[in-house]
């Protein structure tokens, strides 16, 4: 079995298994913990509305915080949106997803994907520089932050190298790209990348609790 077949075959299958089991285990480990009943008189019973409101509205910064968070927010928007465009807009990715799930949609022109990939890479580099130089981020950061950064950057970088046919045979470059995706999938449940799921649960939980009190969301 050659490298590409290993990447497409057992590596991808096992990383998907680790991803699925890990995500379910972590979510169950959190959500199955006890919940204390709240007997206080609610100001509002529309807690689901509060949950949805916070999930949506926390996507952008409040006006009062904009001047202090604009740079970090901009970097965050660029690489999150960029990743989404590259993952879900690139035709080969869509074909791959279709082969797994049967779901498909029209892709974006390759040129757009390449530019977006490069911008995403630049934003991720800026995020790393910021993490290394900002005193608050340096204090907070741990191995998870840097490793998660690495496994996020790797598929973007190897993908760009693969489509540019740089440095090796295309099959080898593609195999490396798929391995990097496997690493990302296998790591996701264990580190901060799990926020791709937890963001909805955390925002929703807080939104519901604050809505019950009529507090600011």
């Amino acid at each position: 079995m050659d490298l590409l077949n290993i990447a497409r075959g057992p590596a991808l299958q096992w990383s998907l298994v680790v991803f699925a089991v890990g995500v379910v285990w972590r979510l169950a480990g959190i959500l199955l913990l006890a919940r204390k009943p709240d007997y206080t008189e609610p100001r509002s019973t529309n807690t689901w509305g509060g949950a949805v409101r916070m999930i949506v509205s926390r996507t952008w910064s409040k006006r009062e915080f904009l001047d202090r968070t604009a740079f970090a927010q901009t970097i965050g928007y660029v690489f999150h949106i960029g990743l989404a465009i590259v993952v879900f807009g690139f035709v080969p990715h869509i074909l791959f997803i279709r082969s797994l799930t049967g779901l498909g949609w029209p892709g974006l022109p390759s040129g757009i994907i390449y530019v977006t990939g490069a911008l995403t890479l630049a934003a991720l580099a800026a995020a790393l520089v910021r993490r290394l130089t900002n005193p608050v981020l340096r204090l907070l950061s741990n191995v998870d932050d840097y490793f998660s950064w690495l496994v996020t950057v790797a598929p973007v970088a190897t993908g760009l190298v693969a489509v540019a046919h740089l440095g090796a045979r295309y099959e080898t470059l593609l195999a490396v790209h798929i391995f990097s995706v496997c690493l990302l999938l296998a790591w996701l449940p264990f580190g901060k990348l799990m926020h791709s799921f937890l963001v909805f649960i955390s925002r929703g939980t807080t939104g519901a609790l604050l809505a019950r009190k009529g507090a600011s969301i």
Partner: protein, 450 residues
């Protein structure tokens, strides 16, 4: 410090509270370091449910919470980053209860928290967090960091690692019924005094009443005119109300110090008194954390829904002015800015009623740049004002508030929290500032229509 000895009170200084200790005693009880750690971690982990675990798991270390915190913004010191304030507890959570705790323990990926770390974190958990919840408003993951600091205080309290003054005030409250010496006897004397002084009819210890009125010890001792003010308002409304010597103190230093057992004791005193006099409403004073403790935790201490309503005095005033039952004169013909107490507004949901009251009084309300849910804390909440060693930090935080008040160019500054008022008074003196915070309740009481 011995559990039996009550700490001395400072009654003559500019700030009313527990006397500043000559030497710091920031450990309570005789325990080894290992015992302290074990107790802190056990109690911290025991508090954990699905909600707190969700928040603990969700942090992406973006550091944005720092930008919402008055202590970080004013000092630029990264240690004041809100989520960093609970770092040892995050570590304990990951090691002890998180979904992958077995890996983390087996591979020692997160080391055990040390006694030194807990001692260092005392300043971060108590002195530099007012639990104002502004950081909750910026967190892109929606983590309620203020609530997590509250949980961390439980562990710190059990381990005897509470700042001296806060612990001492809580102990005094548990033993005497008030953190600041406002015992039942003192309270009754003050009620009588204020009744005579303001020529207002007082009701004390009625067997039955529709409204049980509570006060904060800061009001009783420092601003006793509030006692007369609330009596005037309730008499004006023609309500059947009472003070009770078995349930009058609404401040809850159990909550502030992190002693969950004492918090429950303090809440239950009020709840039992309200039930005894068959009250339909428990009226809370101008005190922010008293509102949090009773409105949003009282029923949970009781273990079932309360058989009466709980309202903050500012929402009570606003609602009764709005429905026309409380008639006031437009006696406040001036410009006013209103400070939203964090626990009542951002964390408690009371935004419009105080503004309704001020407008009914004829005031032109000029909002601060950051107001309502985004208001900056006065810096003295969460028990911080009682901690002497935190004074300089608190004054730094207060500078934001002072600046925003000045920018409004309003003639008057109004608050609806006695703790904020105390913080404003103390900072006013420190900065030789020309603004004196006034009580919303007292302004309403002074302007009742004939």
């Amino acid at each position: 410090m011995s559990e039996a000895a009550l700490p001395p009170l400072e009654t003559t200084g500019p700030r009313f509270g527990i006397k500043k200790p000559e030497q710091r005693h920031d450990m309570q009880g005789d325990m080894s370091d290992n015992e302290r750690i074990a107790i802190a971690m056990r109690h911290f982990v025991r508090d954990f449910g699905a909600v707190a675990a969700t928040w603990m798991e969700s942090c992406v270390h973006c550091g944005m919470c720092a930008e919402a915190c008055h202590f970080y913004v004013q000092t630029g010191d990264p240690k004041y980053t809100p989520i960093w304030k609970i770092e040892p507890f995050k570590q304990a959570y990951k090691r002890e209860i998180s979904p992958f705790s077995f890996f983390i323990r087996a591979l020692n990926l997160k080391p055990k928290v040390t006694a030194d770390e807990l001692e260092q974190w005392q300043e971060l958990i108590y002195d530099s967090c007012t639990m104002c919840g502004r950081c909750t408003m910026i967190c892109p993951m929606g983590i309620d960091i203020a609530a997590l600091v509250g949980l961390a205080r439980h562990g710190m309290n059990k381990a005897g690692l509470v700042p001296h003054e806060l612990w001492a005030a809580a102990q005094r409250a548990e033993q005497e019924g008030s953190p600041l010496g406002a015992t039942a006897k003192v309270f009754q004397e003050r009620v009588e005094w204020m009744g005579d002084e303001a020529e207002v009819e007082m009701h004390m210890n009625l067997d039955e009443a529709d409204v049980l009125v509570t006060m904060s010890s800061i009001e009783i001792q420092k601003y006793p005119q509030s006692i007369a003010a609330v009596a005037k308002v309730l008499n004006h409304l023609g309500m059947r109300w009472t003070f009770r010597s078995d349930g009058y103190e609404a401040t809850n230093f159990g909550l502030l110090s992190g002693n969950a057992d004492w918090q429950k004791d303090m809440s239950m005193k009020l709840i039992d008194a309200a039930i005894r006099c068959k009250a339909k409403l428990l009226l809370l004073p101008e005190c922010g954390h008293a509102y949090s403790a009773m409105r949003w935790a009282g029923a949970n201490a009781y273990g079932k829904p309360l058989p009466f309503k709980v309202r903050h005095i500012s929402e009570f005033l606003g609602e009764h002015i709005a429905d026309g039952s409380l008639r006031v004169k437009k006696g406040l013909d001036t410009t006013v800015t209103f400070h939203d107490p964090c626990q009542v507004a951002r964390r408690g949901g009371v935004f419009d009623p105080p503004r309704v009251a001020l407008e009914a009084l004829g005031a032109e309300v000029r909002e601060m740049k950051d107001n309502r849910g985004m208001s900056w804390c006065c810096g003295g909440g969460g028990g911080v004002i009682s901690i002497h060693r935190a004074d300089e930090l608190r004054y730094k935080a207060f500078e934001i508030k002072m600046r925003q008040v000045d920018e409004t160019r309003a003639e008057k500054l109004v608050v609806s929290c006695a703790n904020c008022r105390l913080s404003f008074d103390d900072s006013q003196k420190h900065f030789h500032w020309d603004k004196t915070a006034q009580s919303l309740l007292e302004l309403v009481a002074d302007n009742l229509a004939d």
